[in-house]
Amino acid sequence: MMLMYEFRGLVINLTIYLFLHLIYQHHITQLISVELEKTKADNLSAQFELLKQQVNPHFLFNSLNTLKSMVEMQDQHSARFIVMLSDFYRSSLETRKQHLISLQEELSTLHAYIFLLKARFEDGISLTVAISDAHHASFIPPFTLQLLVENCIKHNIVSLGQPLHIHIFSDGAFIVVENNLQLKRTPEASTGLGLTNIAQRYQSLQQQQMEIIKDSHSFKVKLPVLHEDTRDRR
């Protein structure tokens, strides 16, 4: 008789335990699905931010404005400007998702970018590119050179009175982006895709780090040349 009572108590306890466990499980599942939704939303907004950075609205509107001025002044380079702008945006939207692209490709995008900048600032900016043949076959994270040039004009004076000179050249195992230092009174708001971002990309790609050399009159960023084998490691 006692045993039966004990057994009954056990059954009741077990039922209650199972019931509670069910409720608990349900609660956990709910938490997980909420978390999942949140992650999805975060991911979407991150993607949106990335897309916005790719489109770079400030650059787009500035370029459209330059184009409008060119059309109004009946500038004969207007048609070429449109082609360069679309070239630039095409590669900007296509290649950002890749980890590495050939330096050749990067230079052709940079070429379009430089054309757009020259149209906007005229003789307020000068850019020279001298990359050795050996480096042309190397690789680079997409838009690194463009970001570095963008950085230069973001922080330095670009005017007819004080032109900004940017040199991009090969130096041993490095590609160097150098400019004369003439800082603005107030730097433009940063997009966040600055030097740290590039440094992080290089860090994850190779042992050798990107170097920044700054003195009173110049600013230099040295990018280690990446060869095919580093691409395979990814």
Binding site: F61, N62, L64, M73, I157, V158, S159
Partner: protein
């Protein structure tokens, strides 16, 4: 109108100046500057322009630096590809904020706004000077009648009165003209020995008074040489003052 253009893009500056000249052919471009430093230098060394067109991101930094280091008295129209500076811009003399690229119509609308604001502001500051000094008095009134502007000499005016809420002039030959000033403003501009404000409705010329007779309640009834739409009655409080005015000219 003297206009200062502060814009770091050479092409945009050129196109803007061209547009300004088509919208307002009288506009004179005082200078076209690329940097905040040049603008600070210019504004401290030259008299203030009448209007400034300003880009926000200049070749050597933000345009708000200019306001920190130079006194800017002219109204500013900001032209920029960035939309996030509007509030700062309004704190800094901004009267319009144009997003680049913009059309000629947008610029023309901004010019109209400048014009409208300038007019309403100058009207307010000039108001105290407007009524002429009393001893001199106003000599004539300009009225608009039958699509023509007509100048009426004060000597030809028999009386002013309020007709349908608006003051009107009645001349000695019986013609009526409407005015858009208030009767108070009119009476303040006229020589007090020549014109007398008999009551709220009527302001009469001394030379128009034909005769004055006693009316009941110690009031006075005034007959003018020109016909009046109503009887002109002077309240007992003003009667003595009126007789005094007639006597002591």
């Amino acid at each position: 109108m003297k206009i200062l253009v502060i814009e770091d893009e050479i092409k945009t500056a050129k196109a803007l100046i061209k547009l300004i000249n088509t919208i307002d052919p009288d506009a004179e471009i005082a200078a076209s500057l690329q940097t905040a430093s040049a603008a600070i230098e210019y504004l401290s060394a030259h008299p203030s322009p009448d209007l400034i067109f300003m880009d926000i991101q200049l070749a050597d930094g933000s345009c708000f630096e200019i306001f920190k280091e130079a006194t800017v008295t002219a109204p500013v129209i900001f032209c920029t590809a960035y939309d996030e500076y509007a509030i700062e811009a309004f704190k800094a003399n901004g009267i319009d904020y144009i997003l680049k690229p913009f059309t000629e119509e947008t610029l023309a609308a901004a010019f109209k706004k400048v014009d409208r604001l300038r007019r309403s502001l100058t009207q307010q500051t000039e108001k105290p000077i407007y009524p002429l000094p009393l001893q001199q008095g106003k000599k004539s009134f300009l009225v608009f009648s039958e699509n023509k502007y007509v100048v009426i000499s004060v000597d030809n005016i028999s009386f002013f009165y309020i007709r349908n809420d608006f003051p009107a002039i009645v001349t000695f030959d019986g013609k009526e003209y409407t005015l858009n000033q208030s009767l108070d403003t009119i009476s303040a501009q006229l020589p007090p020995e020549q014109f007398y404000r008999i009551n709220r409705q009527y302001l009469i010329n001394f030379n128009a008074v034909h005769e004055v007779e006693h009316y009941f309640g110690r009031k006075l009834l005034v007959h003018l040489k020109t016909a009046t739409p109503e009887k002109i009655i002077i309240g007992k409080n003003k009667a003595t003052e009126f007789l005094h005015w007639l006597d002591n000219r």
